[in-house]
Amino acid sequence: MATLPYATPTDDQISWRDSARDSDLLPAHLVAFLQCGVSITLGARGRNGRPVVGAGVACRVSGMANVRVFLSRRTDAAVIDAVEAGSPIAATFSRARDHRSIQLKATRAVIRPTEPDDASEAARQCALLADDLVELGYARGQADVYAFLGAEDLVSLEFRPERIFTQTPGPGAGAELPR
């Protein structure tokens, strides 16, 4: 296990600094990362003011700026309710094999129906994550459930990231990647 090359927060800062960007657009390497089959943790503030945690199933980025996270209406009812009540959103994307993690935050988000081809793209990303997990020692059944493979009743949670942070474990974790 220890021979795998793990990512560091410094890696994130270097690749961020090196990517030429238009302030409104996300760098290509980040867009690729968000769509490569990562686990997605969602955070919101519920109607009662308490924090609510949820899990995204997959992600697509449209126009290099608009992040669309798919989630299950059944298992993520609490997050959907919070966002519909006007909650800000936090979404952390983590790659199982090297722990690279990026958190996006926005002060508002909307819930929309998914597009016709979203389900097949979501299934592709879930399958990639599940395969990674199996490689890391999960049983196939565990990996498939953990990666939400086959999740139905998807909706799309959409937002434009306002702040971006590296969450990769290590010194510098949590640092903002300035836009």
Partner: protein, 451 residues
């Protein structure tokens, strides 16, 4: 609170995978992250590992609320818990338990240098929701575990003394609980532990020493709580600390003396359970495995029950009075070349010829018996007189004397030494010398011819 019992979520808190966590700051902005460890504390509380002073930490201190999502790898169920912050513990049983578990998790994920436990954040669970229903049936071992524990304790009731009991517990955990590698250790009053017996290793390691706080065994004894690791961790490796400590204390210029610890080279699961009676730790029952995450919460419960009964039985057996000594012939002393037994007073270590035998209180006991034998020719002794002998500097509560005698007897037997201790009745034993023995106190260089 929902009608789900928090205890039934323990499987989701084994540390199989990271859990997820959300906190909010004072303005209500959420922060989503992964958390290495959600630890089951009791029916109403969990603890989260505090490893870094980060946004999550700042939010927790500011708003005292969190929400975690857990995945049970056995049932494939997913749960969400609403938590209210209670306190942070930076020492003590809960902290040490989580620190050991985190070390295993960190090592498993290649993050041994990154993850360090700074505190155990205790939370009250205020709401619980099953996000995804169980879809797999876990291997139901609860019923067989209870029966296995019963079989272990049944064996204890047939034991006449601590010697029998040590064998019964080791055989029991192997036969009834399916443990492949087990060691029973007894505690010295200074916190060191000595192996009294083992199962599953190429060598028994009887007499091997563990320093206070060393590895899961040392921590379990110090804190009086079970310590369990599901993945290999170099932080809790045995042996290295002993040599380093001995050298730094200037005890030895040569290689540290002692019996090598018999443990597995690369254990993937370890559990150490303290054996206590009357509030004092008498020893530790240790088990390990090549398998990852071999010991779960239920296994820990089973071993704790066995250890509790072991401690109670040990205390009971030691209260028994000595019986009349049965008449037994004194063995003839073999003719032939004699052997020198050396004693080093600085740590009461005893050598037969040039070979290390034992140290500590067990070494002091042997030296005391040999000197008396040299002076008076006496061979039959009682544990009671040792308990009352102030020269041995036993602690006031010397109920672990029997364990030291068992250790000494087993070391002599295993070494095939020219000296043996033979049980002659309850609380009675005989020193048998099969060779001419010369005593030499290494500190003073005196020598006395005996036997």
């Amino acid at each position: 609170m929902s009608d789900v019992d928090l205890r039934s979520l323990r499987g989701a808190m084994e540390g199989f995978c990271a859990s997820t966590l959300c906190t909010c700051d004072e303005e209500g902005l959420p922060n989503a992250s992964m958390i290495s460890q959600v630890h089951w504390v009791d029916e109403e509380h969990v603890a989260l590992s505090y490893q870094f002073f980060n946004k999550t930490r700042r939010n927790l201190l500011a708003t005292r609320q969190a929400c975690v999502q857990l995945f049970d790898p056995a049932t494939l169920a997913i749960y969400r818990l609403d938590l209210d912050y209670v306190e942070t513990r930076t020492s003590g049983a809960l902290f040490e338990t989580m620190k050991a578990k985190l070390a295993g998790i960190a090592s498993h994920h290649g993050l041994e240098k990154v993850f360090r436990l700074l505190g155990a954040d205790v939370f009250r669970v205020v709401a619980m929701e099953q996000v995804q229903a169980p879809s797999a049936r876990p291997a139901c071992r609860d019923a067989t575990l209870l029966s296995a524990v019963r079989a272990c304790v049944d064996d204890f009731s047939r034991c006449q003394d601590l010697d029998d009991l040590a064998d019964a517990v080791l055989d029991g955990v192997v036969r009834h609980l399916g443990v492949s590698h087990a060691i029973l250790l007894m505690a010295e009053c200074d916190g060191r532990l000595f192996a009294l017996g083992s199962r599953g290793y190429a060598v028994s390691g009887i007499g091997a020493e563990i320093l206070p706080g060393e590895g899961v065994i040392g921590v379990a004894a110090c804190e009086g709580v079970p310590i369990r690791i599901g993945h290999m961790s170099t932080d809790y490796r045995y042996g290295a600390a002993l040599g380093a400590a001995a050298r730094s204390a200037g005890l030895v210029a040569e290689e540290p003396r002692g019996v090598p610890f018999p443990g597995l080279g690369t254990p993937h699961s370890q559990i150490a359970v303290p054996v206590s009676a009357g509030g004092r730790v008498l020893g530790v029952l240790f088990a390990e495995s090549d398998e990852v995450m071999r010991f779960d919460h239920e296994c820990e419960d089973a071993l704790v029950l066995v250890a509790v009964q072991l401690g109670a039985t040990m205390a009971l057996l030691q209260e028994e009075d000595a019986e009349e000594a049965p008449a037994a012939p004194v063995p003839h002393v073999a003719e032939g070349s004699g052997v020198t037994v050396r004693h080093y007073s600085r740590d009461d270590s005893v050598f037969i010829g040039h070979d290390y035998l034992i140290k500590g209180v067990a070494g002091a006991i042997l030296w005391r018996l040999l000197r008396e034998h040299a002076a008076t020719g006496r061979t039959d002794f009682t544990t009671r007189e040792l308990r009352l002998d102030r020269s041995l500097k036993l602690p006031d509560h010397a109920e672990n004397l029997d364990a030291r005698l068992v250790l000494l007897r087993r070391r002599l037997e295993e070494r095939g030494a020219c000296l043996q201790l033979v049980k002659t009745g309850r609380g009675l034993f005989r020193l048998v010398c099969r060779s001419h023995i010369t005593l030499e106190d290494a500190g003073e260089g005196e020598a006395a011819e005996v036997a």
